[in-house]
Symmetry: C2
Subunit: 192 residues, 2 copies
C-alpha cells in the first residue's frame, strides 16, 4: 500500500536490533485517517470473504482493529494479555512470545465471544516472527471459527512469520512488507 510505505519512509526510523520505530503514527500516537485507508484496503482485498468478526491482541493492534471493525461493520474482539478480575468463566488461553517486549505472556479470549459461527479477520500492527498471530489463529481454530485472513500493517519480510503462515495456506495481507532496513543509513527496502 503506497500510502503506508510513503508514511513509513517519511516518519519511520530504523533502529539497531531490527526495530522500526513508527510510534508517531502507528503504535503510540496513531493517525486515524491512515488507519481508515488501511481498513478500506483490507475491505477491498477481502471483499469475497464473509468476515463477521475482527480479532486482535492488546495493545497496539486495538486501534487498527477498531477502525477495521467500523469499516467491516463487525464486532471487534481483543485477546487480553493477562487474566483480569473482570473475566470469569471459560477462556481460550495461549502463550505468545513478543518480539517487541522480549517476553512471553498468556493471552486469553472468552469462549462466549468466538465460535463456529465466526469468520474472522485477524489484525495487528506488526508481524515479525508471527507468534502473536499464530496464537490468535490457534484460538480461532480451537473455537471452531474460520480464519478468513490476516491483515498486518507492517510485516518484517526478513523475519519468518508472514511467509511461514502463507506456507501453511493462510491469507496474509500485509500492507507494507519491509524486506530489509539499515540502521546506519536509514534505508528501507519494501517488497514489491
Amino acid at each position: 500500500m503506497k500510502l503506508l510505505e510513503e508514511r513509513i519512509r517519511k516518519d519511520g526510523r530504523v533502529k539497531e536490533g531490527n526495530v522500526l520505530k513508527v510510534d508517531s503514527f502507528l503504535n503510540h500516537q496513531m493517525d486515524m485517517e491512515l488507519f481508515e485507508e488501511m481498513a478500506k484496503q483490507w475491505k477491498a482485498d477481502f471483499a469475497d470473504c464473509p468476515i463477521n468478526k475482527i480479532l486482535t491482541i492488546e495493545a497496539s493492534g486495538i486501534a487498527i482493529a477498531a477502525i477495521v471493525g467500523r469499516v467491516f461493520n463487525a464486532p471487534v474482539l481483543f485477546a487480553k494479555k493477562s487474566r483480569s478480575v473482570n473475566i470469569d468463566g471459560s477462556v481460550y488461553c495461549v502463550e505468545v512470545e513478543s518480539f517487541t517486549h522480549k517476553n512471553t505472556s498468556k493471552v486469553i479470549v472468552s469462549k462466549k465471544f468466538i465460535g463456529p459461527e465466526d469468520y474472522v479477520l485477524i489484525v495487528d500492527d506488526f508481524m515479525a516472527n508471527g507468534c502473536a498471530c499464530a496464537g490468535l489463529i490457534q484460538i480461532c481454530e480451537t473455537a471452531g471459527a474460520t480464519v478468513e485472513g490476516v491483515g498486518i500493517a507492517i510485516e518484517k519480510g526478513f523475519q519468518p512469520g508472514g511467509d511461514a503462515l502463507r506456507a501453511k495456506g493462510y491469507r496474509v495481507d500485509s500492507l507494507a512488507i519491509v524486506d530489509s532496513m539499515d540502521p546506519e543509513t536509514g534505508e528501507i527496502v519494501f517488497r514489491s
Copy 2:
C-alpha cells in the same frame, strides 16, 4: 446517554465486588456502532472546545479513543503500561493504580507527542477511583497541554473518581453514571 444505559441494562452483568461486566460490547468484545454513537455524543458535548488530540491508556480505552479520534479528526495517543524496547528517549511517566487489576503500574507517554500546542480530550471505558485519569491529567499538565475534558463511557458514581475531578474543575462527561448496582438482583440505578 440513553443508548448506552439501555445496552448496559440489556447486556451488562453486576458481580460481587462492585464489578460491572460489560465485556460483550465495551471492553473485550466491542461494538463499534455503539462507540461511534458515543463519540458523536462527545463531539456534540465538546463542540465549543478546540480539541486536537485524544489521549487514553492501554488497553480498554484504545478502541473507544480510536473511534473518537476518527470523529474528532484528531490523532490518538495512548499511554503505555510499561517501557518497551520500542520507546527510547524522553517520556513522561506516572504511577497508576488499577481498580480492575488490583495493581499499580507505570504508564508512559513520549514527550514528543504531547506539548503546549495540544488541547486534549482524555477518553476511557470506565472511571472508578479515577487513578488512571488523574495520571493522564498529570501527564498533560506536566507537558503544558490543556485538558479540555474527560470522556468516560461508564462512571461508577458510588466511587469517588468522577466527582473528585469535577470538584477540581475538570469537565468530566460520563455517558452513563451508575449510582448503585446490586449483585443479588442485578438492578442498576443510573444517575439522571
